[in-house]
Symmetry: C2
């Protein structure tokens, strides 16, 4: 039995290859991979298998894989679906370590295909033969010239290998990405397309790539993953190794999600959860192909800013504004230069506007030493983590290139950890001179800003401690395997350290009156019982009762209403709780995602959730730093900080509650379906926070 990782190595970088179903017709699915191995000079031996021919495309053919008599690292399978399993059994019988199954007709065609695919999975588990696909476009390994695909990308010239790995569920998209990279001159080391993923997954390939020194940037594409923890482990390994991952996960809009579901056999987790995973793990989630490859290109510089303070230099005031607008939109910090730096810059470059953007006007290029002076002041005194210089045409004059490079090189040497991007347009030879000198070049200044934003997010991710740093989870609570009442829910959450409103569970009107007297303020009464999840609708809640007498009457009224609405439902008393005035209403929740497990949600109440869907998620458990980031991500965070003269809310208490909820969710994930704390009132700073209602739903 193979070691799984050794099998994966044999799959991606095989030392020897069999092509089963090899065709003499170089245009057919069985003919193309052979043609490409020949054409591009694959470095190892390869053996076509075709029972009907002596040679295939001029290469000696074998009747069966069993006739080859040589060790085979990887078999390419291009036979109809119904023959795939027998072919693989033959492979296993003669020690083949891995196989790429190009054949379609599996899970993507429905139930029958799914059964056939399950047999492939079982085969792989039983034999240890690692399988890529089925229904995939194979692998391109540009180091070993292992061009194992039937995609027409093999007809479009051979690129120099480079630092990018492309790992894509979709074959069409993976090869498209590669074609775009090639057009851009962006070097790729491997393209791996995983198709239906009967065995090898995008997650496992990311894990593999995270360990490779010849891969500097990982571009991943998936419509959904089945094994969330495996993806998390892989992404976390990449992060620990400072290996940027740029992920395009489709299905954000309802229409998009519908299209994804109609296309793949994938189980797509809720999109918000993917967002949470990516944010937590420092993955840059790209929205478009351009976005992805701009970010990947910027990552090739190997400089990952620790924070988002960006300095802008421009010879056009208008473009300075464009860049500033775009940077702010993308969450970067266009901080003005410190006063002393502005003063100094004004002395040295009197014609420039010295704020940030620094608008040098075209006069900049009359004395190129000023370029060095300017950047020195900005990076030294301004402390910017990154910078974009919009030089456009002006830097592409043949008289400018050499002296400008001299200035910029000196700056780069002095500030090796600052990311600098040049925005240029002009003669390609001039632009290429800057590229060859190691500068990142974007024609469009706003795309340069986008790339800075992407690399900054990745850099910030690299700074953060390992995820799930909660050392010891508490033992799971003794969760009843039935619906819970509000009282039971609140007692469980209270025990888990969540602040819940003080309350008394009353069994009679007298007890209700007594509790009201004790609280000494207006109270709320609520029917309690596992069946009353929608208590408001049946009149089971009465608010603002001022006196014990009123409360006692309300007790009777609520019991009567409950009896009328749901005669058979077991009533477990009435909860009496003080009314809480003021504060900001929030919603806290837990959801057990089928792919990623327990996740915690935060949002502000009312229109924030209902109209703006302004919520953020994190996988549980997490620490307070992560809780604060989670709060900060919502637009509603502004309200918590106090708007229009209102006091700031107790964000600290809110963050503590989120952490405790995340620990509870993680500890009880196996027995839990969901939790809701709604409303969860965040009081004025220093006064804490309190859940006014709670619902814990155990796993059915």
């Amino acid at each position: 039995m193979n070691d799984p990782r050794a099998g994966l190595e044999a799959l991606i970088g095989p030392k020897s290859v069999a092509i089963i179903g090899a065709s003499d017709d170089p245009g057919r699915i069985g003919g193309r991979p052979l043609r490409y191995l020949i054409k591009w000079g694959y470095e190892g031996p390869f053996y076509p298998v075709n029972p009907n021919r002596e040679t295939v495309q001029g290469v000696k053919a074998y009747k069966s894989v069993k006739d080859i008599g040589q060790p085979i690292d990887c078999a390419l399978i291009a036979v109809p679906a119904k023959f795939v399993l027998d072919t693989l059994e033959d492979c296993a019988a003669c020690g083949v370590k891995s196989a790429i199954v190009f054949s379609s007709g599996f899970a993507e065609v429905g139930d029958e295909g799914t059964s056939a695919q399950d047999e492939l999975t079982a085969f792989s588990k039983r034999t240890g033969v690692r399988l890529l696909g089925p229904n995939c476009l194979g692998i391109l390994n540009f180091h070993s010239r292992f061009f194992a695909t039937f995609s027409s990308t093999g007809d479009q010239g051979y690129p120099d290998p480079g630092p990018l790995a492309i790992i894509s569920q979709s074959g069409a998209y993976g090869t498209h990405l590669f074609a775009v990279c090639k057009g851009r001159g962006l070097g790729v080391s491997h393209v791996i397309t995983t198709g239906n993923e009967c065995d090898v997954t995008v997650a496992e390939c990311i894990d593999w790539a995270a360990e490779r020194d010849d891969i500097k940037v990982i571009c991943a594409y998936a419509e959904g993953v089945k094994d969330g923890p495996a993806l998390i482990r892989a992404l976390e390994k990449a992060r620990q190794n400072n290996k940027p991952v740029i992920f395009l996960k489709v299905g954000q809009s309802e229409e998009g999600a519908a299209a994804a579901a109609s296309h793949t056999a994938s189980l797509a987790g809720a999109d918000e959860i993917y967002d949470a995973v990516f944010r937590q793990l420092g993955v840059y989630r790209a929205e478009t192909t351009e976005d992805m490859l701009d970010a990947a290109y910027a990552c090739t510089a190997g400089i990952f800013p620790k924070a988002g303070k960006v300095g802008l230099v421009t010879i056009s005031g208008g473009v300075g504004v464009q860049m500033a607008d775009h940077a702010v939109k993308l969450g970067l910090d266009v901080a003005p230069m410190p006063a002393d730096a502005q003063k100094l810059l004004k002395e040295k470059l009197p014609f420039a506007s010295a704020l940030n953007p620094v608008d040098t006007t075209a006069q900049f290029f009359n004395d190129l030493s000023l370029v060095g002076v300017n950047f020195d002041i900005m990076l030294e005194k301004g402390g910017y983590d990154s910078a974009v210089a919009f030089f456009t045409l002006a830097a592409c004059s043949p008289y400018v290139v050499e002296p400008l490079l001299k200035e910029l090189d000196a700056i780069r040497r002095k500030f090796p950890d600052r990311l600098l991007i040049l925005s240029l347009v002009g003669d390609q030879e001039m632009v290429d001179t800057y590229s060859r000198a190691g500068y990142l070049i974007f024609e469009d200044p706003c795309r340069a800003i986008g790339a800075i934003a992407a690399v900054t997010r990745i850099g910030e991710g690299f700074q953060r401690p390992p995820i799930n740093l909660i050392p010891d989870l508490p033992s799971p609570v003794d969760m009843p395997a039935r619906a819970l009442s509000e009282w039971d829910s609140r007692e469980i959450l209270k025990a888990a350290g969540l602040p819940v409103v003080d309350a008394v569970l009353c069994r009679s009107a007298d007890e209700a009156a007594e509790a009201t007297a004790k609280f000494g303020c207006p109270v709320a009464l609520k029917i309690n019982g596992a069946a009353f999840a929608h208590k408001t609708e049946i009149g089971g809640v009465m608010l603002g009762l001022e006196t014990p007498q009123d409360a006692a009457a309300a007790y009777g009224e609520i019991m009567a209403r409950a009896g009328r609405a749901m005669a058979d439902a077991e009533v477990e008393g009435v909860i009496v709780a003080p009314m809480i005035a003021g504060g900001v209403e929030a919603i806290l929740g837990v959801q057990i995602d089928p792919v990623f497990g327990p996740a915690v949600m935060f949002g502000l109440g009312g229109v924030f959730v209902e109209v703006f869907k302004d919520v953020s998620f994190r996988l549980a458990p997490f620490d307070k730093t992560e809780a604060l980031r989670m709060i900060e991500e919502t637009k509603g965070a502004k309200l918590l900080k106090g708007v229009r003269g209102k006091p700031a809310a107790d964000i600290d208490a809110l963050a503590d509650a989120l952490v405790n909820l995340s620990v509870f969710a993680a500890a009880n994930a196996d027995n839990l379906a969901s939790v809701d704390l709604n409303p969860f009132v965040v009081l004025e700073e220093g006064k804490g926070a309190v859940a006014l209602d709670a619902l814990v739903v155990p796993k059915a």
Copy 2:
């Protein structure tokens, strides 16, 4: 005295040119324009003026413009700022019709420069000599080879003229745009840079371009305009002529706006007002250079969809989802195919997923006649206004290009009004074959979607009736030239047809009691007087008074509080009004923009305005269709339609109020500073809407 338009023609397309300050050094500001005229073969005669030389760059030179003795359409002025006015006087003296002032040192350098620039403006007004600049990069007219600039863009090759006009306040940005166009192979007819705009403005150049048959698309850039009505007239003319305008106006973020202000001598209007102007006039507001030129390129097809229903075809399911996500984000309608069309498509292309996106998989290309079948079904039965086909590499095989073009050409002939964009990547020669055949090509599928969204917005703008279709504005009201009380404000607005809450102005506690009894429900009491703009802060408002007795007491209390807080302020009684329960709180307002005049604002109350700044603006007056669009633009519109079981609000009544407010604002613009209706409660559908508070502020 010139006719101004004839002067402008002489400026942009002169028949003869003088170069004043012409230098023999071809690299200097005075040398470059002459060099370019020579090098690129300007079609008319040109006369260098240099008092110190017989010839300049080999061309006979004149001591003064007055020595030329030939008619001059346009003089290029490259002399120091202090000599500009005298030079211009000489020009005027010998009948020069227009001049381009390259010289800097005017309004951009502060007060002294502003005075000098004002003299240029006065000169132009007095003499009729049209002036471009100062502090501009001149004009490139690719038809007449009038290359009147000192930008180094003149050193980078001469492009074929094309359908785009670039009109830019900023010279650096205008020439950058042109350089990017050239790199993309996007043909430009004119580049006009207006600089400090002492006379000729971006608005006037748009007006000019809107009438030119050789200009199909107008790309405009400005940091701010000074004459709003002129811009509106120009944009409206362009729209009436179905001439798309794509506008990049910078200064959206606070940081961006700060940079704009530090750079130009422009008076930047509030950015939201520009947004309103552009939306009202069907202008596509680009956010980045790439966005602008993608839109411009797409406009060159001359097909402007009437609506936003987009059909997506893809050979990669994943890219289908990407495109769908992006389309939804940009407000396009990714409507599914009708059921019968899906059925038919499934019959013809059994391998395809037939929803929308239609995922044909790569099998599509095994029988290219299916491409025609597919588009025929989608466009005929699906009724899509536009379509994007993601064919990537697959369409760039040499075997595919010809037969695929045949299929696509047939579709194009059958559906000439539908915009089709192809997303391709591959061998440039193959891609160019599609371009030459007249297809729009984008490598990136999401940029193709962005272009569809831009052209759709423009197409929708072309459909709309002329703006300001309110036939007769009422006479202005007799507006007192002093601060108004709430009561005076509400009476004015009531007379203008705005719904205000029923109320009584009471002068005694008895009157307050009487009014309360009359209303027969809880009432609010509010101090009334011109000085009490912030009445809540001084305790001048009491709410929820249930009985006449309570109201009478409240009257006394409010009067006492007002006396304590503002002893000298004139009290004009207390307003008694019924409390209004339910409904959705909105804010309506009028602002007189210094550039564009009266504008109406709409937003929902509370966090919508305070946290999300979720408001929309329109220039006044406007009709109900525009009012409804204005409401629809806000995110809060969802709340008006009813969320989570709440009833829909009376959007019709809200729209009527906005129209009436716009008519009032337009009729009284000269005497008005601002209006606020806040809160303005929109009641349940059919029950109208009502302003609970009103403030009219006359012009000081």
